[in-house]
């Protein structure tokens, strides 16, 4: 394949990656924005989404399209419930103290990951895509499902945006983000807002995984890379800024996809990791976040 088409392929792959990354990262960003919590277990919620999708599609006697849709509904709900429990019984009891919370979420990471290992096993298993559709471009064939993923991620993100800006619940979340104490004075049950936010963040990660799992496979360690990448996106985009997260997801998803195809994926990750560290040191507000 000559350079032009190869670049197009890289851009397409990067876009798919950016879409899923955006969804995952927005979940992480919401949790930090509203709760000021850095959730290191976020990647494991993602992984759970994929694992649960496998269980649902495997055990439900539906045709692939229906089973996958069922997974898209069930998996995020289950993961949301688990997240809400984790918030109520662990994070709340720590009063969301920043350093203690991170250590606790690290512990949760291991617990969730190893529980998945016990129940699902160490193998990677495929999940059937809801439909097979090969788009034939002049230079190469491309999976229509991948384009569907981009569209679906966009729809979900739009729904989240509408929820945050138009609904009462969204307003309550934003109010709690701006000033937790004042929100409490207005009668807002901050504990429930926090549990809900944590659950929503986890659900978004799980949904992203359900979208991507027909393309990759479900594996108990698959949460590691998305965690690092969404960290990178959220920090560079500015913790707590949704707009920054989206822009950064696009930039990082695309560049990671392109660098990975032209150079090595490891090198891409090294660059991204160092970039995060340097951004935090020299420009902690990221691209869009306000100076804390």
């Amino acid at each position: 394949m000559s350079f032009g088409p190869f670049l197009l392929l890289a851009v397409l792959e990067g876009t798919v990656m950016a879409a899923v990354l955006a969804l995952t990262s927005v979940g992480l960003s919401l949790v930090f924005g509203v709760m000021r919590v850095v959730n290191v277990a976020h990647g494991e919620f993602y992984m759970l989404g994929a694992i649960l999708a496998w269980f649902v599609t495997y055990y439900l006697p539906f045709p692939p399209a229906l089973a996958w849709v069922a997974a898209l509904i069930i998996a995020p709900l289950v993961v949301a419930a688990i997240a809400a429990l984790a918030d109520t019984f662990v994070l709340k009891r720590l009063n969301y103290a920043p350093e203690a919370t991170i250590v606790a979420t690290i512990g949760l990471l291991y617990m969730v990951q190893q529980a998945a290992l016990t129940m699902y096993g160490p193998d990677a298993r495929p999940v059937a895509a809801p439909f097979e559709w090969r788009i034939q471009l002049p230079w190469f064939g491309y999976s229509g499902y991948k384009l569907f993923v981009v569209g679906a991620a966009g729809v979900i993100l739009a729904a989240v945006w509408l929820f945050m800006t138009r609904s009462t619940a969204g307003l309550v979340m934003r109010a709690t983000q701006i000033d937790r104490d004042t929100a409490q004075c207005f009668g807002i049950n901050v504990d429930r807002v926090y549990a809900g936010t944590f659950a929503l963040g986890a659900a978004l990660a799980a949904a992203a995984a359900v979208l991507i799992v027909p393309i990759q496979q479900a594996h108990y360690l698959m949460g590691h890379d998305p965690l690092l990448l969404s960290f990178i996106v959220v920090i560079i985009g500015g913790l707590g800024s949704i707009r920054g997260t989206l822009v950064a997801a696009l930039v990082i998803g695309l560049s990671d996809g392109i660098i990975s195809m032209f150079f090595s994926p490891t090198l891409a990750k090294i660059i991204a990791t160092l970039l995060v560290a340097l951004v935090l040191v020299f420009r902690p507000q990221g691209l869009f976040g306000a100076r804390a």
Binding site: P98, I102, G107, Y110, M111, L117, T118, A277, V281, F282
Partner: protein, 314 residues
């Protein structure tokens, strides 16, 4: 009994017990204890940064790995003798800690944790990327012929135990001296009330950097010793897990106590050892221990003991 006598008797007593253990324990457990001692040195280093100075780093695996490869590469590629290689590993840990510190100490709290995590992760990925030299995840074996100090073969159980003990004892005594020194007091002051310490004339950046470098030297020494004593160097020791483990040992044993890291290392090592006999998912207990400690016992075993019964315990 004066406080000084109490402190030294307890610590020298523990050292004596550990030394004597090699004659009493069966070989499997003796080798475990040798491993635990080296890991305890790593954890003691972490404790200097975290327990005493309040720097919660998630990147110490980088300094351990620096010691690992700082020792392993010269021996493997350049035919160095073990002692100079060990010293190079030690220095590599300290230097890397200094470099990371100069950048990371411009941040604090959560940002500091993430920055150190990212540097460590970049280090691990670089080790993978350069796998022609480093052997990547598979790593490489350190030649048995090279692991001989003054005619003593380190691959033999007895010699290995004594060598591990030598490092452990030196590290513990140095740590005890440090935390009871004026500088040790300043480290704690930084952790307890940084603003006050600044207004007493102390430069927070300088103090924290020194603490981090000392911590890196310990980690580098532990890494170098681990590779030398157990004959293997690999990138898997540079993963996030090896940044979490020293933190866990310190939290369990008691952050800010000299003996805490060793106690935590012993308990956690055996907890994992026993669990892995039953299931592949033994890391679950690591996670559960972290959550449990943070929720219910953040001061750890010796920390709680000190608070209730023994305020003189350093």
């Amino acid at each position: 009994m004066t406080e000084r006598v109490k402190v030294w008797s307890v610590h020298l007593g523990v050292l004596a017990l550990v030394f004597a253990a090699q004659y009493v324990l069966p070989p499997y457990h003796a080798t475990n204890l040798a491993r635990i001692m080296v890991l305890a040195v790593f954890a003691m280093g972490y404790n200097i940064a975290f327990g005493y100075t309040g720097l919660l780093s998630l990147g110490h695996a980088l300094f351990f790995a620096a010691g690992f490869y700082g020792m392993g590469l010269p021996i493997g590629l350049l035919d160095w003798a073990p002692i100079p290689a060990l010293i190079l590993g030690l220095i590599a840990g300290g230097v890397l800690a200094g470099l990371v510190g100069v950048l990371a100490l411009r941040t604090a709290g959560v940002s500091f944790m993430i920055v150190t995590l990212m540097f460590a992760q970049a280090g691990y990925l670089t080790l993978l990327y350069l796998n022609t030299w480093t052997g990547g995840d598979e790593g490489f074996v350190v030649d048995r012929a090279a692991r001989v100090i003054a005619g003593h073969d380190l691959s033999l159980d007895g010699t290995r135990y004594v060598a591990a003990f030598g490092l452990f004892a030196a590290a513990m005594i140095a740590c005890l001296w440090l935390v009871r020194s004026p500088f040790g007091r300043v480290m704690v002051a930084m952790r307890e009330n940084e603003e006050r310490s600044r207004m007493l004339g102390y430069n927070p950046f300088r103090i924290k950097l020194i603490a981090l470098v000392l911590s890196g030297i310990y980690a580098g020494a532990a890494g170098a010793a681990y590779g030398l004593l157990f004959g293997y160097v690999g990138a898997s020791f540079a993963t996030i897990q090896y940044s979490i483990l020293p933190m866990l040992y310190v939290l369990l044993g008691g952050a800010g106590t000299v003996l805490g890291p060793f106690l935590g290392a012993v308990l956690m090592f055996y907890l994992v050892d026993i669990t892995s006999g039953y299931t592949d998912a033994y890391l679950f207990v690591v996670g559960a221990a972290l959550v449990g400690l943070v929720l219910f016992a953040p001061r750890g075993i010796l920390g709680n003991l000190r608070e209730r019964f023994a305020p003189w315990l350093p």
